[in-house]
């Protein structure tokens, strides 16, 4: 059985073919980073137009790499949301058209649930319960997972997402886009203790995140020390900033771990490629004596293999998909 996944929720156009044994036959991602980088961020209208241009080619490429023909596809899956509404609609309409023509079932999936499920592509047996930290440009959330497909939100951001805070400061300093990887590169070897960022205080017992305070503190440091992209202290500043954002993420995970006694920790989403985050995450798991799982880079960033993998899981649990054409793209997650 071959499962086709399609993902267009933000600026990546992606298609992937996996088998029912979870072998990833192809995983094609076309990133629009280069198109968007002069603007210092994703430009939504540009994003949906580019999805329209590239989706056909990406599908063909994914079939060719997988070594199969379109008629060999048995199940189609697509990201339904959340994301940019225009971008989502491109993938969804395309997938509906395919399902209709090929007369194959179509399973819509949630983008965040797919990210969470990405950990299972390479690891079938993750001990439960598991705590999941999902960090990306647009999302920062913490989940408790009792078994596959069973996720409960423990906390999410009350203002900016972690990746968004990194992107905004990078843009402010005119470093470029996407901000996260550039900050990681430019902060290499910098002193993380040089600039002070206080951890946000949550007055209640919640496991929510907040990053707007860091953003304001960063701006204050920039102004006070006259920092710009050519400053000699830029390296230390970026190291301190990145360290603080990562520390805030890990401290929430740690708090959740002492409350919910998990067997495993999972780190996923685009920001999970960040080296410092991976390091602190692994340290926490070792300190607590827990199993830890981080998907490979290609499954952390937005991709379609995670979409196909989640759809397969749902299919195996009895979800037979639908051929009706009344699926609607939604921008906000119900989670």
């Amino acid at each position: 059985m071959n499962i086709l996944g399609i993902e267009t929720s933000c600026d990546e156009t992606a298609a992937s073919v996996i088998t029912d044994r979870k072998r990833v036959l192809s995983n094609i991602v076309l990133s629009q980073d280069e198109i968007h980088s002069p603007y210092g961020g994703i430009v939504p209208e540009l994003a949906s137009r580019n999805h329209v241009i590239s989706i056909n080619f990406i599908l063909e490429e994914s079939l060719e790499r997988a070594g199969i023909k379109i008629k060999d596809i048995d199940l189609i899956s697509v990201t339904q949301g959340p994301g940019l509404i225009g971008s989502l609609l491109v993938g969804l309409s395309f997938a509906k058209g395919l399902a209709y023509t090929l007369e194959k079932p179509l399973i819509p999936v949630d983008h965040l649930e797919a990210h969470i499920h990405s950990a299972f592509i390479e690891n079938e047996d993750i001990p439960f319960p598991a705590l999941v930290l999902l960090v990306s440009g647009g999302h920062t959330s913490l989940y408790l997972m009792r078994k596959k497909l069973d996720c409960k939100v423990l906390g999410k951001t009350r203002d900016d997402a972690a990746g968004e805070a990194l992107d905004k400061i990078a843009k402010f300093l005119d470093i470029g886009y996407p901000g996260g990887p550039l900050i990681e590169k430019l902060s290499l070897g910098g002193n993380t203790q040089e600039f002070d960022f206080a951890l946000p205080k949550m007055t209640d017992q919640s496991l929510d995140f907040s990053f707007s305070g860091f953003k304001t503190a960063a701006l204050r440091h920039i102004k006070k020390n006259n920092l710009n992209k050519k400053s000699s202290r830029l390296k230390d500043f970026l190291a301190s900033f990145e360290h603080s954002v990562v520390r805030a993420l890990i401290s929430r995970l740690k708090k959740a771990a002492s409350k919910h006694f998990p067997e495993s920790l999972i780190l996923c989403g685009g920001v999970a490629r960040n080296k410092r985050l991976r390091e602190y995450f692994t340290e926490l798991a070792e300190e607590k004596g827990l199993h830890s799982f981080i998907p490979s880079h290609e499954f952390c960033t937005d991709n379609a293999a995670m979409v196909a993998a989640l759809a397969l899981e749902k299919y195996n649990k009895g979800d037979k998909g639908e051929l009706s054409l009344d699926l609607n793209a939604y921008a906000r997650s119900p989670h």
């Binding site: 603007y39 961020g41 994703i42 430009v43 939504p44 209208e45 959340p82 994301g83 940019l84 440009g137 647009g138 951001t157 009350r158 203002d159 900016d160 997402a161 968004e164 905004k168 402010f172 919640s206 929510d208 707007s212 953003k215 304001t216 960063a218 701006l219 921008a331 906000r332």
Partner: protein
């Protein structure tokens, strides 16, 4: 056109100030927020939502990524953020379609050129936690 100034000294004060303002809303207001990074536009939006009776204002978060968040309170709240858009895109977006169907809150309103009736709020960062509001309505 009435112009007035107001100063707050903490996030809490900003929320309280916005909440009080929103208590007098009748459901069709357009609030245009301008001010740089970290000025407190999202915090102000939280206060407005609180004043409009939204139960959990933690769900009011930055729409920089999603462009639009919708909350169901006493009136529907359309929370826009044009941080990532250029002028041509804001013109294509059709945000005006929501005028009259709820309260519109807009962050990075400097990206649009709207001449109609609106509450225009400019936020500047002062000393320490201070925020200076210039309100035009």
């Amino acid at each position: 056109m009435l112009k007035r100034h107001f100063i707050t000294r903490s996030e809490k004060e900003t929320i309280f100030f916005a909440e009080k303002m929103a208590l007098e809303f009748r459901g069709e207001e357009i609030v245009l927020l301008t001010g740089g990074l970290g000025a407190g536009k999202t915090v102000f939006a939280k206060g407005i939502a609180l004043g409009l009776g939204l139960e959990n204002i933690n769900q009011v978060c930055s729409p920089s990524y999603t462009i639009l968040n919708v909350y169901k309170a006493k009136y529907d709240i359309y929370h826009f953020d044009f941080y990532r858009l250029n002028r041509a895109e804001t013109e294509d977006l059709g945000w005006e379609d929501h005028i009259g169907s709820g309260v519109i809150l807009m962050e990075w309103a400097e990206k649009i050129n709207y001449k109609g009736r609106a509450i225009r709020i400019k936020i500047e960062i002062g000393e320490k936690e201070e925020r200076i509001f210039e309100i035009e309505s």
